[in-house]
């Protein structure tokens, strides 16, 4: 109920902002801007050297973007002699996509899952060819799902099949509400079918896996908190970058286990055409996204535990990113659209796990 108030209220707020703006007659475009940016907008008319971007991203990337943004501000000052400020917004990948569709004025989106960016494209805000506009299909880095265990790995977890032993409890967020949750599910599924198992076997495996899951948090950070702070569960299935952070902060209480095989997680980036054209920020937004592929940004990406897309930077950090077999979504489903329908939609494979248990 509260959520619905939320989305309706957001529309109402946008309408209210429109009304206020048009009544005051102070804005030619009549766009509802953030209150913080109103002074910036006035300045922008007077001195076009000042510009502001909004990067709408997913949950665990706060630290990454803060560091990348600092570097870009300096680089852009040197390159274009313009001052840019970049704001960040974080949350569940799906809800961030909805916010942009509902009017959040993102210049660029950097989301966890391809289908979340594609949902914005479907809403007409991003051009159809968005993936062709940047190197490597608009993918500046990739990641995967790894296993985090407690000190000394007492349950001797080495591979996916170890997760369903009787005394092992798993922590991972719900695939219904979390990108991390979806990728964990798909990694587990793929660990069976990519090694020659049948779909029926994969289904049995994930069913068993979620029987070992005592808590389904709604987001990646909440699950990290459940595992690391509250001490619940024996294995945490999470993003590699989140695992690096979690282990570093645990003071030796946790360690990472790399399974032999996992999913290749691809958080794509795109500029939001409708918004950059209205705000006249296209050139800055393009420069920002291209900056992500420079050696400087690729280094920052690697330092934060994300696997850089440029092979030479990746190989410099090879001790940090052990090799494992990474399969793509296309190798276990026709694509994200099909994966969502088949696994996570109402009545899909994930729901059936619990429905069969309830009977």
């Amino acid at each position: 109920m509260t959520m619905i108030y939320g989305t309706s209220a957001r529309r109402i707020l946008v309408i209210a902002a429109f009304l206020t703006v048009s009544i005051l007659g102070c804005n030619n475009g009549g766009t509802a801007k953030n209150d913080a940016s109103s002074t910036g907008a006035a300045k922008a008319d007077a001195a076009p050297s000042q510009v502001e971007l909004l990067n709408v991203s997913y949950d665990p990337t706060r630290e990454l973007w803060r560091q990348v943004n600092e570097r870009f501000v300096v680089a852009y000052r040197n390159q274009a002699a313009r001052e840019v400020t970049i704001k960040q917004s974080h949350g569940g990948s799906g809800s961030q996509a909805r916010a942009v569709i509902d009017g959040l004025e993102a210049d660029v989106v950097t989301l966890a899952i391809w289908s979340d960016i594609d949902a914005i494209r479907k809403a007409g805000l991003i051009a159809d060819d968005w993936q062709q506009r940047l190197p490597h299909d608009s993918l500046p880095y990739f990641s995967t799902i790894v296993l985090v265990v407690r000190k000394g790995n007492p349950h001797e977890i080495k591979d996916w099949s170890d997760l369903v032993r009787p005394d092992v409890a798993i922590i991972t967020p719900s695939p219904k509400t979390s990108g991390n949750g979806k990728l964990s599910f798909l990694a587990a599924w793929g660990s069976i079918v990519r090694r020659g198992g049948s779909e029926a076997e994969a289904r049995d495996f994930v069913t068993e896996l979620y029987r070992h899951t005592p808590v389904l948090d709604t987001g990646a950070r909440a699950a990290t908190n459940t595992f690391a702070q509250k001490g619940i569960g024996d294995v945490h299935l999470t993003w590699e970058n989140e695992a690096v952070l979690e282990v570093a902060e645990s003071g030796g209480q946790l360690q990472i286990v790399y399974p032999p095989i996992s999913i290749r997680a691809e958080p794509f980036v795109a500029l939001v055409d409708a918004n950059v054209d209205r705000k006249s920020t296209r050139d800055v937004a393009e420069a920002y996204l291209k900056f992500l592929y420079t050696p400087e940004a690729q280094q920052v990406i690697a330092e934060n535990g994300y696997r850089p897309i440029e092979p030479d930077v990746l190989s410099q950090h090879s001790e940090k990113f052990p090799e494992l077999e990474l399969f793509e979504i296309a190798e276990i489903a026709a694509g994200w659209a099909e994966a969502n329908d088949k696994f996570f939609a109402e009545g899909g494979v994930f729901d059936q796990i619990y429905e069969s248990r309830a009977e």
Binding site: M1, M3, G92, T177, V215, A222, E346, D351, A358
Partner: protein, 276 residues
């Protein structure tokens, strides 16, 4: 007739203030709710029904209703005792305690959820004693009832306090002099006067619990068919970009809340009539 004339004169600008009230109520309450209904009405009936009446949704409604109901009952009992103590006794620190009652209003509910789950897990402050006894007050149904009780607590206390304050202590003396035992005095003299306020407090805390999301997601574990509340289903449907289906579930919750309010108004009416 006379009272309404007086009221108009006490506050100047009756029309203006009424217009203002109606406009804001419309803006803040009616328009969003109407938007909710319109969105849900865009679904054909079979899809609406398919969205709101799955086995999983039914389990979530049942869990939301029963846990809200249980927490509201606990609050009525606890709230009566606390209100009684705060009104009838003088003791050091009373004001401090009194203002503490409002804390659940002020605290972000997500914070409450985090703190509760942190306390009651196996290695938490309280959990380390309770879990060995078999009391699991984190990631269980009990946990949800606990936080809902916390969230709804001030409603009962704050509705009972003024009523208790207005009760004349002499009435109790009179009952005692007329030969009533303590229990009879409570049962026949005090309770009837308190029942309407207790019903209001119950309803407020119940309604508050039904709509609670922030704290519950942190303590419940969100297990389908077990500890999943209906608002979590709404979020899950939104993640699939299924706005209309999500709104449909919201409409069901809305209908439950309105039904609850109606029932409470009827109860209050009935309790007032039967005691006048």
């Amino acid at each position: 007739m006379t009272t309404s004339t007086i009221n108009r004169r006490v506050l100047p600008g009756f029309r203006l203030s009424l217009g203002y009230t109606v406009a804001w109520l419309g803006f803040l309450v009616v328009v969003p709710l109407a938007g909710c209904l319109v969105k849900a009405a865009s679904l054909p009936f079979d899809r609406f029904w398919g969205a709101v009446w799955t086995a999983r949704a039914r389990a979530a409604y049942a869990f939301t209703l029963t846990s809200s109901f249980a927490s509201a009952w606990i609050n009525v009992v606890l709230g009566l005792i606390v209100a009684w103590v705060l009104v009838r006794y003088e003791f050091p620190g009373k004001r401090w305690l009194d203002s503490l009652v409002d804390l659940p209003f002020a605290l972000p509910t997500a914070v409450a959820g985090l703190v509760y789950s942190q306390l009651y897990v196996e290695n938490g402050w309280l959990g380390q004693f309770l879990v060995p006894l078999g009391i699991k007050a984190a990631y269980s149904r009990l946990a949800v009832v606990l936080v809902l009780t916390f969230i709804g607590f001030p409603f009962v206390v704050r509705t009972l306090q003024p009523v208790l304050e207005s009760l004349d202590a002499e009435i109790e003396d009179a009952a005692f002099l007329l030969g009533a035992t303590r229990w009879q005095t409570f049962r026949r003299v005090l309770l009837p006067a308190l029942v309407p306020a207790m019903i209001t407090g119950f309803a407020l805390s119940f309604a508050r619990a039904m709509g609670e999301y922030g704290s519950v997601v942190f303590v419940s574990g969100n297990m389908p068919f077990k500890t999943e509340i209906a608002p979590v289903l709404i979020v899950a449907r939104l993640e699939e970009f299924a706005y209309a289906e999500a709104t449909a579930i919201a409409v069901v919750l809305l209908a439950m809340s309105i039904g609850m309010l109606l029932l409470v108004n009827l109860l209050e009416l009935w309790s007032k009539r039967s005691h006048v």
